[in-house]
Symmetry: C2
Subunit: 184 residues, 2 copies
DNA sequence: GTGTACATGTAATCCGTTACATGATTCC
DNA sequence: GGAATCATGTAACGGATTACATGTACAC
């Protein structure tokens, strides 16, 4: 079955995760997404991963098989020839959309005239901590990509480094904001 | 009518835009969103603005009236007492969610092993131009906030400055990426 | 008179989440 | 025995977009 409705970027992201490994279960895919996609592209919910996999299966871009795992069987997915081709075509022939940002803290700041400055400072501080946590998590992931004899994670490292800088810039911005809000 | 289902952040964003002016039409709100929200929070589509206004009206957070404009009448919206209170309450009593980022270019880079590096360089270059355009647009908005005797736009300026730095950081990141991709 | 901006909506659809449901396996 | 993790789904819902539809006002 190969109908060719255009897939969402998230579908391609799932397909992309499958391009790193021979085969993965839905659950494993979720964890991969959590250690990679999460930092730069909202990691899809478990249920969405399963439904994307269903769709990819229906269009022949992945194949599935039941694999014995202990007493029971798990369902693993593997990217197909046509899946691989479709992914490459998408990457090469379509231009990436601009990033989508919903910066909830910025929205709060924008409406800062309606709240006591102290509250804003608290919220900025909380965001700083969130950024620091994300950065630390990403640093841990980045460290795990160091051992890579055959260069599979070459680009993942590049993105991870970009991400570390991204969160650092965010932290810098929050530091500036903190001092700006000091004397208001 | 005051049912109190929790509103989406976008609804509060619309309400927030109404907190700057006595009254605005849906169309005007759209333009305000386009010169403010757009830079840090995806600007809602026209149709969403109208439907959010409908909901805000139904819950009494805004009021509407028909205003003669030339030959015809336009519909303007005004934030109500309870709307203002609800907005303040939301700002003060709920914590902002973490930012949502969908960085499509980062996704492409992450899957960089599947495309010719040259293509990646092109896409990074295109993103750089997009960032520069956004930054320039924001700088123009920022300049327009300079004349502000009664300090209405105090926080808007802070957010604009934050945004300018944000896009600058993004540009810096792209510059680093460009040179990293040079020798691959 | 034609195109652009102003102005207002409806309908279909999609992307994605949360909540619900279930059960096996493993570790303590 | 119980908790955490692995594992797989369905259903309801909501947020948001695109496409469709319509019409006025104004500038060139």
């Amino acid at each position: 079955v190969v109908s060719s409705q255009p897939l969402s970027p998230t579908a391609y992201a799932v397909l992309g995760l499958l391009s790193f490994e021979p085969e993965l279960t839905g659950y494993e895919l979720r964890r991969r997404a959590d250690s990679t996609l999460r930092f730069f592209y909202a990691a899809p919910a478990m249920s969405q991963i399963y439904s994307e996999l269903e769709r990819l299966l229906a269009t022949g871009l992945v194949s599935a098989r039941e694999v014995p795992a202990g007493q029971r069987t798990v369902r693993t997915y593997r990217i197909s020839r046509t899946g691989s081709a479709a992914l490459r075509r998408w990457l090469e022939e379509t231009d990436p959309e601009p990033p989508v940002l919903k910066h909830h803290l910025a929205l709060r700041l924008f409406l800062g005239h309606l709240v006591p400055p102290e509250r804003l400072r608290e919220q900025v501080a909380a965001h700083r901590e969130w950024c620091a946590r994300m950065q630390a998590d990403l640093a841990a992931v980045r460290a795990g990509l160091e051992d890579d004899p055959d260069g599979t994670w070459r680009y993942a490292r590049i993105v991870a480094d970009w991400g570390l800088a991204y969160y650092q810039a965010e932290l810098d911005g929050m530091a500036r904001l903190t001092s700006e809000l000091e004397h208001m």
